[in-house]
Symmetry: C2
Subunit: 325 residues, 2 copies
């Protein structure tokens, strides 16, 4: 007689999974609050807003409806947080040197680290830090700002594209854990897309982020300005083709039609100040390595040179270092 | 019996050649004043400073000694200027659309047009405008500013490298006219180098101008800042190698050692705000086409792509157009 017991923290869709939100800002605060409102067990890590939020909770102004959470589980010390099923990394990538101190004690065995960050390569770093967990990457299309302590204003969009991470970014297909996380997010009213190949998804997001984030900072320009001048319009397109060349160097094909769609989409967008431009204007460190440095190094490892992205990268490194002098 | 008469305005070194100076600014005003002081017959075209200079003359403050010319031949109308042996083009290249109205009536048959401008390709344009004249290009290494009407402050350097222009920039070697012009300039205390191949000389000057002029504007930086940050230091070098690739596409070889010399030279230089940065700060049109656009098109015509220079060019076009909105 064989007795077989499957132990899992993800037994059914209906189990109340616990989430740790690392970085309760415009992004982590918004998604975390939505999950708590949907009835999930959420634990927020805060820094500067800890005192305020632990007393007064979180206020979300949103185009989908405003709401307030008067009580939240707020922490300013990772040691005090309970182990969670899902740890959401919603810090800026410029804070990722903190992850080795945060993740191992926080995520349950067989749990999930959900990386909601820009750029490339962060899942690889997470995999080096934690062993017996699943890693899922999420690409957020979100316009949201923190307007005061514990007060987040959600302006537009909000959907998340998630994909599973396996060693060397081999495509995982759609896994059960992805479906379970997606169900939780959907139950909170968040629009979700599942993709079989996270690396392709990340390169596709870079098609937009590399030209617009980079040039908006360097040229002090909004998206509409970059698109209305013929030379920057052309440069944006050339940079997008270089991103596609970088993607191809990793064996991931981005079709020309996708580039055209991104260009058309941006022309139709409202004039937009990119997240990197906001960081620059606020004199916060720029996510240069995750968005530019890592893709360049990935391509370089395959002997593919991306000269215009390299030019933008070097210019941004200069600006990023100079504002911090 | 054959009577052979050689008619020339350049009969001997001692003849007093007449010079027209188009553009009496920091550069044209400085060299023109030096030539007049040396006894040559000089005629200055002015715009905004015409009233002042025609009454009060020119004041030159110079590290080589100050001097004042109380009386100068000043004009604000090209029609009133006498025909001259040598027409010195000392306008910014952004004014070159005016040359077809200026040059034909002003330069004597068998005279010289001396182009003291930055960039590439201007001699070709001049050749299309005037027929029976020699065209000589001059590369000025000069730190000079106009500090008030008719008042020029010469800070450093001053040497001119001149080379003859022939159709398609075929090297002319050292011509008699080059020697005669050089003698006039030397008689005025101006250090002169003669080169056999003007196009090689112009590409070599671009090795400095393209990275430093371009990046100083885009990154709001002086030369010392560009050299003290590792990423811009590297980008400067990469841009220099692209200039050498552009030069090679025209059959002109710039050795690696020249690039190293330019880097070393700039590290040792006093912190310097480039001429293009000064133009940008003063909201004057930038010489983007002469310094960036023409070299790119020359290389493109030989099927050579210069992606990082192209990136800088497109960024500068955006900034140049935007400040004039």
């Amino acid at each position: 007689m064989i007795i077989y017991i499957k132990i899992s923290f993800f037994v059914s869709k209906m189990s109340k999974r616990s989430y740790a939100i690392l970085g309760t800002g415009a992004l982590g605060g918004f998604y975390g609050a939505k999950l708590q409102k949907a009835g999930l067990d959420i634990h927020f890590l805060l820094k500067s807003d800890y005192e305020y939020v632990s007393k007064s909770g979180l206020v979300i102004e949103s185009k989908d409806g405003d709401f307030t959470l008067t009580q939240v589980n707020a922490y300013n010390d990772i040691e005090k947080m309970p182990q969670c099923d899902v740890v959401v990394v919603a810090l800026k990538t410029t804070q990722n040197h903190l992850l080795p101190q945060m993740l191992p004690s926080l995520v349950r065995d067989n749990g999930v680290v959900l990386v909601l960050q820009n750029g490339l390569g962060v899942e690889e770093e997470v995999a080096k830090i934690v062993g017996n967990v699943s890693i899922i990457g999420g690409l957020c299309f979100l316009c949201s700002n923190k307007v005061a302590a514990g007060h987040i204003r959600h302006l537009d969009y909000g959907q998340i594209t998630i994909g599973g991470y396996a060693s060397s970014y081999n495509p995982t297909g759609i896994t059960d854990k992805m479906r379970q996380i997606a169900d939780d997010l959907k139950s909170a009213g968040i629009s979700i897309e599942l993709v079989e190949d996270l690396l392709l998804g990340r390169w596709k997001k870079l098609v937009w982020n590399i030209p617009y984030n980079g040039l908006s900072v360097i040229l002090n320009a909004r998206t509409d300005e970059l698109m209305s001048y013929v030379h920057t319009r052309k440069l944006v397109e050339q940079l997008m083709y270089e991103v596609a060349a970088g993607s191809k160097s990793c064996g991931r094909i981005i079709p020309d039609s996708f580039i055209q769609t991104m260009l058309d989409y941006t022309v139709k967008m409202k004039p937009y100040r990119t997240s990197m431009k906001i960081d620059y204007d606020e004199r916060r460190p720029l996510e240069v390595e995750a968005i530019f440095g890592n893709p360049l190094r990935k391509a370089q490892a395959a002997d593919v040179n991306l000269p215009q992205i390299s030019c933008i990268y070097q210019q941004l490194k200069f600006l990023d270092e100079k504002i911090r002098v």
